[in-house]
Symmetry: C2
């Protein structure tokens, strides 16, 4: 049996699963493993704070297929509890690797530094936030435990936890060949029955439509989705969380469906359908317009990574991954939808000198600014809600934590995205409140030579909360965001308040591709997109309940 | 029975227990409670990121007796997992209050935003990190639950967790008078036996000595400790975690005991004692010089908040709080220690123009700079280890997470300390790595008109780790810390590399008391204090194990 070490085996498996970068902050319990990483083919990206590493790894996972965050025991690990929860909630396969006190140090339960209550406190926390967890404290089982946990991350597209006691890093192990893990096959008869039933519903339907969810992206089924759409002529819409799952200039694309909060014609088309095919859709509140969605379960077919339901009955064991190829192979009726709603073409913008910027103009201009090589990363708030109406092209991507909605994602996400996809230049849309949480990760951006364009929507506080319930607690300090390059000794800063100033900043940012640009956009405190206005009036009722 | 609401009762109880400020970041699940806070006698201090609020509340608890952090569900709560763990590990009574989805919103388990796995995921996480937890989902029991949980925080001096569903905030409740909670009384006979045994040991001892730990501070027993010391003439030392428990210019004060890592004469005095009386001491690794302590249990008396041990036997139910008054009332022998080790008097510093700064000079100069109204807040790293040798005066305080050693504490701690104790001006000692984690909370400092002096020890990376195991992962971007006031539009910045430059900056900072000052001190990457050198060579052996 081939000999290796625990750390070498772990690194090899991460590499085989596609990881090329590891995000984190070193600390003494994990230093030995950091050294092993530095000597490997994985690049270490150390961020300012662990939170930044967690968000970067999450974004990397979404764009690369697997993300890795590596931190020290408790003081590092517990700082990524929130980012790991986000990865769990939104199905992002992040591997959390934590250093830990050595097995031999734990004898007689001493009060080693960083310990909270017991040696397994951090493990118990992460068992709540991951789909599989292992402590590599036994050389006999370490390799199989690594395999088991990484398999769960890929299979379930959710985070996992690996704890590596520091005296285990360089321990030799023998590795038997990994046992084959065949994907569970569906019952062929059940699958055939399901496909026949779906075909029958499609035949009978007057206005069938597909709603494509985030699992299509996570399980890399975009190509099959498009084949299905083009084979059948079915129109297709996305959800907020899955925005950009379909190239948005595709002639069969309707737009983003978000219940009563979205564009009325898309809402009407989806809710009026007599055969709604949901593929990999999460039924979440923000995703569905804070429960303003009016979907008739009896007329809905829904396939997820867990099961298929048709009307009010379920096919257990039949999943999205089984159904898509089966539908492609089946004899399905042609759909002739006639004219369908289409996302509005972004209007041409003609910047007027000295004309104060509005949210509306800003997003129209940014939409024009997009090209085939842009990844739009939006923090929750108006950055996300106004961003929904932007048109995302083929090679581009839109990413936002639209379900979990944790603030502070977008700037560190740019690090993960640009490393995973150097062909894409991130356009970060972030509110001032969110920027103050993690925006200084621009330091990491600078250190690793990345070049996002960061647009800070400065409306002097928590603009999403003001219309729900306002108070001084929604105020924040008015930073001069454009001065940040002075602190970092890198990047370019712009403070813009008028249309022509925005124009100048965007063109300068586009022209200079070697560094990051931070563009502070000064907006009126009460200026917000129509989408956000609809959202906050729905939420305000619950806040005041 | 008097009528009130759940939020009003919670706020009233916090106020009665001494809280005057609440730290946090608002979010929609907690907005209603924020409104109630704003309308109350508690001041809301909203920070840039929840992590900053958690550290500020921890520091506030250490200086005020109770701290409160209030955040939204999951996306806020899980960001304070680490700071709550620190409060647990180091015994700091922090009340974590989290907003949550309304009880009525949870029906049929919908995918509400911010939800991770189940509605109780966050509760399960905090059960690992607190000594009591409650979800206020029942108006019948809410008041008693609030009492139970807050009592545990005060009694055990550790964090607790309260989850407040948003539709419970304004629910009316009747409150019965709180049942009396008598402190458990010790068995009077057992206590008498223990005191007699201790008196006997003191009679027989040639060189008895007291080691005063952090529980003396947490349970506010400093005055009783000093009475005991002065009544008996017993010399007294502190640990790293309890540094400043005794006014350090007191003639019976020896210094900080930290095993082989500390000043040799203190180590020799403590380890050579034939009767060591430990009062409220945590036996932790950093606290005890990474297990270089050589303490003879047979000659040790140790009283903590949980029990008393004398030699190898224990008195169950007899605690520090019982023992101290009993010793003060008892007939104890006089101790005549003769000459004892004393902390060295800080040398006079005469700044030499253009002479490059060293860690040694810096701390000698800062020591002179201290006065009776300074609180020294040190982040782990050389800021903490070199800080140990500073002499802290009576009304002053030294605070550092010396056991849990989480980076990023000191800057947000300054917010909590100065609000809890407006008579103290914080002197923050922080490494460049730690500053990059939470230093931008200077924004909160500016917003609330606070005025710490922040000394950033810039040695271009993780200086504590380099001597253990070095690699590129210990490098960080070299910020221009003195430019931060430009971003915040507040404060003063200085970049100093020579002794005279430091002098000028310190004098300017002292003179201008209305704002914060950030002094970047440029140090050679390989310059570190003697204390840190001893620590890292002890740790390096474990890292490379």
């Amino acid at each position: 049996m081939p000999q290796t070490t625990i750390s070498a085996y772990l690194i090899k498996r991460l590499y085989e699963l596609g990881a090329r970068h590891v995000f984190g902050v070193p600390g003494d319990y994990v230093l030995g493993f950091y050294k092993a990483l530095e000597d490997s083919d994985l690049a270490v990206i150390n961020t300012c704070d662990e939170q930044g590493a967690g968000f970067a790894a999450d974004a990397y996972a979404r764009f690369n297929g697997l993300g890795v965050v590596c931190i020290t025991y408790c003081v590092g690990g517990l700082k990524v509890a929130n980012t790991t929860a986000q990865a769990y909630a939104e199905k992002s396969p992040v591997v959390v690797i934590s250093g830990a006190p050595g097995v031999n140090e734990r004898l007689r339960n001493p009060l080693l530094h960083h310990k909270v209550r017991d040696f397994d406190t951090q493990l118990k926390v992460f068992e709540q936030l991951t789909v599989a967890a292992a402590v590599l404290d036994n050389p006999q089982t370490a390799a199989r435990e690594i395999d088991r946990v990484l398999h769960a991350a890929v299979q379930q597209q959710r985070p996992v936890y690996i704890e590596l006691p520091r005296d285990m890093v360089n321990v030799s192990i023998s590795v038997e060949p990994e046992p084959a893990r065949p994907s569970p096959e569906p019952d062929a008869v059940a699958l055939a029955e399901a496909v026949a039933e779906i075909a029958g519903r499609l035949h009978a339907a007057r206005r069938p439509v597909v709603l494509a969810g985030v699992e299509v992206q996570r399980y890399r089924r975009q190509r099959q989705l498009m084949q299905l759409v083009e084979k059948t002529g079915l129109p297709v819409a996305a959800t907020i969380l899955s925005k950009s799952v379909v190239r948005e200039d595709h002639p069969l694309y309707l737009g983003v469906y978000e219940g009563a909060m979205g564009r009325g014609e898309v809402t009407e088309y989806i809710e009026g359908s007599d055969c709604l095919i949901q593929l990999g859709v999460f039924l979440t509140d923000v995703n569905l317009g804070i429960f303003t969605a009016r979907l008739d379960a009896g007329r809905t077919i829904s396939a997820t990574s867990e099961r298929l339901s048709v009307g009010y009955h379920n096919y257990d064991g039949v999943t999205l991954s089984h159904l898509l190829p089966a539908l492609l192979a089946a004899d399905l009726p042609q759909c002739h939808p006639g004219p369908i709603p289409r996302p509005p073409t972004p209007p041409e913008c003609f910047p007027v000198p000295d004309k104060p910027l509005t949210v509306r103009y800003l997003f129209e201009r940014l939409n024009q600014f997009l090209d085939d090589a842009t990844a739009v990363l939006a923090d929750p708030g108006d950055a996300m809600f106004a961003g929904i109406d932007m048109t995302i092209y083929c090679a581009s991507e839109f990413s936002s934590p639209a379900y979990y909605t944790s603030l502070g994602y977008a700037v560190p996400a740019a690090i993960g995205v640009q490393l995973a996809r150097p062909d894409l230049r991130p356009l970060v849309l972030v509110g001032d409140g969110a920027f103050q949480m993690t925006g200084m990760e621009l330091s990491t951006v600078a250190r690793f030579g990345l070049s996002p364009i960061v647009v800070v929507l400065n409306n002097e506080g928590y603009g999403t909360e003001r219309p729900m319930l306002d108070g001084r607690f929604n105020d924040i300090l008015n930073w001069r965001y454009s001065e940040i390059p002075r602190v970092l000794g890198a990047g370019r800063g712009y403070a813009v308040g008028a249309e022509d100033e925005l124009e100048e900043a965007l063109l300068a940012a586009r022209a200079e591709r070697e560094t990051f640009h931070v563009i502070e956009v000064r907006l009126a405190a009460d200026d917000r997109s129509e989408a956000l206005q609809r959202l906050t009036s729905a939420l305000a009722q619950r806040v005041r309940a």
